[in-house]
């Protein structure tokens, strides 16, 4: 009799627990949602300073430009920035330039400004992630250096990298300069011959050009 009582009591307790806890008719399944975030090579510019700009430091160093990446021996162009962009008055361009198509490695890196000849930094190592490009130093070291973008290449249009000058300062540029000589440029940015970006095109601009006459951009 005691044996049966235990069985009965046990069964009732189990039932009670189940009833008190409640049983829900449900089905559940878990799964993972995944993806990859990669860290490609990219670059920003700090600094690229055009030659001969008037005014205090950091007030007039802006330029329209594009960059180009070549193999370390300079034999092949691996990347050309597809559109022209403009640096700030400190000569910086903080928007990251995507160089994922280039990848990490050692390259020659070029910058071409809308007033100036192409400037090259030789054998620069690009790492995964963000890279700083300092065209004021020949070795891309950190501090602001003395290297400047040589002024005077003002031929061609400023609509695309391919049309922005012939990368040589010659009679073509000189004629353009002479055509604009003595004109005023109140905004200091409207006339391309105004290479020092002051309010007028005058002998200062002409002197900068003449000083670089027959110079060619770095290849």
């Amino acid at each position: 009799m005691a044996y049966y009582k235990k069985i009965i009591l046990g069964a009732i307790i189990i039932s009670g627990v189940l009833l008190a806890g409640g049983i829900i008719y449900a089905a559940s399944q878990g799964f993972n949602v995944t993806f990859e975030v990669s860290s490609p090579v990219s670059a920003y510019i700090k600094w690229a300073i055009p030659e001969g700009r008037v005014g205090a430091a950091g007030t007039n160093w802006d330029t329209m430009f594009y960059i180009k990446v070549k193999t370390a021996d300079g034999s092949a162009t691996l990347y050309t920035q597809p559109t022209l962009v403009t640096s700030d008055t400190w000569g910086r361009y903080n928007t990251l330039i995507d160089l994922s198509s280039v990848g990490a490695g050692t390259y020659d890196i070029y910058i071409k400004g809308h007033h100036s000849l192409t400037k090259k930094m030789d054998d620069i190592t690009l790492a995964e992630g963000q890279n700083r490009l300092n065209f004021t130093q020949p070795d891309n070291s950190t501090a602001t250096g003395t290297v400047r973008l040589l002024a005077g290449d003002i031929s061609g249009a400023t609509s695309s990298p391919a049309l922005m000058g012939d990368d040589v300062i010659n009679a073509v540029d000189l004629n353009i300069m002479l055509d604009h000589l003595d004109e005023t440029d109140p905004t200091t940015r409207d006339i391309r011959a105004n290479v020092n970006q002051d309010p007028e095109i005058n002998s200062v601009d002409l002197s900068l050009l003449l000083n670089n006459l027959d110079q060619e951009g770095d290849q």
């Binding site: 049983i23 949602v33 993806f35 490609p40 995964e128």
Partner: protein
């Protein structure tokens, strides 16, 4: 006589064990305008007993009880049989593509189908939740849960300085929260399901995404879950594999 009583009580307990106390709505065997008899049974004895702690509904002496099944049907014979079933089929995993560029930003998308099948006329409710907050993580790094003001966003949009992860469900059984006006607003009472609209955040609490009244077996009802992650153009996202563990739960209404 004593043995019969003992066996009967044990049988009640087993019925409760496998059947539970929930009383899903099933096909009624008799009904009028004012009442409906869900089940009936001719048996030796039975009834409902309650106390402050327990509910007990028992029956005994039925014949021809048990389960029968074929490819198309399942039969739970007997008054106290577990009267219905529900199943769920979710993707094993969802991979979002393409890879997001951590420096310059980008978006990755992916989707998977969740199929809920039930023979219960009460239908089903489907819920979703994430195991962590924020949902999408890679160690100490993460994508924020998609920002919504209240109702889901009709169109996916994040700030250039942010990275976020969210989802939108698609299907015939979506609840109001994921129905839209076809133009610019979600949570519409008489709304429709515009593709790729009504983006929401995953949370660690269950959120109902689909609900249906009526059985849908054997085909089941499909809800497509679309996931999106994006890192803004002015946001730096650390490289690596990011994972969110998502749980979908379906239950009988």
């Amino acid at each position: 006589m004593r043995q019969i009583r003992i066996i009967a009580i044990c049988a009640f307990s087993l019925l409760i064990l496998f059947g539970g106390h929930k009383s899903p709505i099933l096909a009624s065997v008799m009904q009028s305008d004012s009442y409906r008899i869900q089940f009936d049974s001719i048996n030796f004895y039975g009834g409902r007993g309650t106390s402050s702690s327990y509910n007990l509904e028992d029956t005994g002496g039925e014949i021809a009880t048990g389960d029968l099944a074929s490819a198309s049907y399942k039969l739970h014979a007997g008054y106290q049989q577990s009267p219905s079933y529900i199943s769920i089929a979710a993707p094993a995993a969802v991979n979002l593509t393409p890879p997001i560029l951590g420096v310059t930003g980008g978006a990755a998308d992916g989707s998977g189908n969740v199929t809920v099948t039930t023979d219960d006329l009460a239908g089903y409710t489907l819920q979703i939740r994430a195991s962590t907050a924020p949902a999408m993580q890679n160690g100490i790094y993460s994508f924020a849960d998609y920002s919504v003001g209240g109702a889901p966003d009709f169109a996916w949009l994040i700030n250039a300085t942010d990275s976020e992860f969210g989802f939108t469900p698609e299907g015939a059984d979506l609840v109001q929260r994921y129905l839209d006006n076809g133009a610019n607003a979600c949570n519409q009472a008489a709304g429709t399901d515009t593709a790729d609209s009504c983006w929401d955040a995953l949370t660690t609490s269950d959120v109902t995404i689909s609900k249906k009244t009526g059985a849908n077996n054997p085909a089941g009802s499909v809800t497509t879950l679309k996931f999106k992650a994006e890192s803004g153009t002015d946001h730096l996202q650390i490289a690596g594999t990011y994972t969110a563990t998502v749980t979908v739960t379906a239950f009988i209404n």
